[in-house]
């Protein structure tokens, strides 16, 4: 019998806000699903759309991109640049048929441990309901490389 589906989610987060928020969730002993793999980056401005494509290429079922609230960026305006980039890239992804629930964007500050835990909970549930990203996995299988995260 096959095992029940557990979504693989990759979260690209900035170290100053969302990563600290995730840390707070941990130290506060908040429980959230273990389906998320966190990749810590210096700033959301450092998060290239290539990262999102790479995560899917390696078999992720969902991707979360998260950083400081507007105005809170450690580097003053990295997240403003990131926001423009996501607006364009998000539109492109949806236009090419990557479902909305597969890629999520959020602002989570270092104080928002609860928001982090709740968000991971909700997107994990959403993707669990949607099931594996079959259409993408089929393309990965065609290349002959096994998907793994």
């Amino acid at each position: 019998m096959s095992e029940p589906f557990e979504p693989k989610i990759v979260a690209f987060v900035c170290t100053y806000c969302t990563y600290a928020g995730a840390d707070l969730a941990g130290t506060s002993r908040l429980k959230y699903p273990p389906n998320v793999r966190i990749v810590r980056l210096p700033c959301t401005g450092r998060i290239s759309p290539m990262f999102i494509l790479k995560a899917f290429q390696k078999g992720a079922d969902g991707v979360l991109v998260s950083g400081c609230h507007p105005g809170d960026c450690h580097f003053d305006h990295g997240n403003y640049h990131a926001r423009r980039r996501w607006t364009a890239f998000n539109a492109l992804l949806q236009f090419t048929g990557v479902p909305e629930e597969r890629v999520k964007f959020s602002w989570i500050s270092a104080a928002e441990g609860i928001k982090f835990a709740e968000l991971i909970e909700s997107i994990t549930e959403e993707i669990r309901t949607a099931g594996p990203f079959e259409q993408y996995h089929k393309l990965i299988a065609e290349t002959g490389s096994a998907a793994s995260v």
């Binding site: 290539m50 290429q57 926001r83 607006t87 236009f95 090419t96 999520k104 993408y136």
Partner: protein, 276 residues
């Protein structure tokens, strides 16, 4: 005097008085409906120039050929208003100096080529502002509208079908006047972002990256779709990006040579409807 004759004598004049060292224009192609770019350096050759409704390629990209503008001399180019916008973007991205570009402006109206007044890119700012207004009112492409109504699964299947034909020849990249990177991200192998084989996965990734890198830079000249040997509707992706930056940021690429690139600038009140 026909417009073609007029432009031939203008080209001849520019070369004879030494204002420009080269004229980049259209010449006869292999079939009656084809035109090919020609590069004229002697006034005697100006009679090879052709100008009519079949001249649809955006020639602006040829200005970036290695070393062409390095000697500070000027070059004249046949350009439509979209071609002029291309020059503006390239100047804003520090790829060329507009002082070195003489514009031989024209526009195609149905079956005829029409003359446009002006010799420098700045002379065309009025026309470009008009085009921005028109672009805002232009409805999205018929196929794009159909796609928007589909479910994401159907949309994905549509593009999967289109991209499965891609042979990764990169003709779209070679034809695009905006693809001036010396080393393209897909040629990188450390890390290898995009699969090199022409499996549908790598093709999808390449085409997404290409479209994204043209967001707010594409002038919709159509060189890429024209160059694609397997007829992938690349213009649909580009148009979607153009519409996105126009509606979200009121940004129309190539308005003038000092316009900041859309993804290298921001406003604090940019819209963010999708961020949780």
């Amino acid at each position: 005097m026909s417009i073609q004759e007029q432009y031939r004598s203008r080209a001849k004049e520019l070369l004879r008085e030494g204002t420009v060292k080269m004229v980049i224009g259209y010449g006869a192609g292999t079939t009656p409906l084809r035109r090919r770019p020609i590069f004229i350096t002697s006034p005697d050759d100006a009679d090879r120039l052709v100008l009519d409704a079949a001249c649809r390629t955006n020639l602006a990209g040829y200005l970036l050929r290695e070393g062409l503008l390095a000697d500070q001399k000027s070059v004249a180019v046949f350009l439509t208003p979209d071609g002029v916008r291309t020059i503006n973007i390239l100047a804003a991205e520090s790829q060329l100096a507009t002082e070195q570009v003489i514009v031989l402006g024209f526009q195609i109206d149905g079956e005829n080529a029409r003359q446009l007044e002006g010799t420098r890119v700045a002379d065309f700012s009025g026309i470009i502002a008009e085009r921005k207004k028109k672009r805002k009112e232009q409805p999205s492409h018929e196929v794009a509208r159909k796609l928007e109504q589909m479910t994401s699964v159907e949309r994905f299947s549509f593009w999967e079908g289109e991209f499965s034909r891609c042979i990764k020849c990169y003709a779209c990249r070679a034809a695009c006047p905006m693809c001036w990177c010396r080393r393209c991200v897909v040629d990188n192998n450390q890390p290898q972002w995009v699969n090199t084989s022409s499996h549908t996965l790598g093709n999808l990734e390449w085409n997404l990256v290409r479209a994204f890198h043209l967001a707010g830079r594409c002038v919709e000249c159509g060189n890429c779709s024209e160059a694609c040997p397997v007829n992938i509707p690349l213009h649909l992706l580009n148009r979607r990006m153009t519409e996105e930056v126009l509606t979200a940021f009121d940004y129309y690429p190539g308005a003038d040579e000092h316009q900041e690139p859309v993804l290298a600038s921001f406003r604090k009140d940019d819209p963010e409807t999708f961020i949780l």
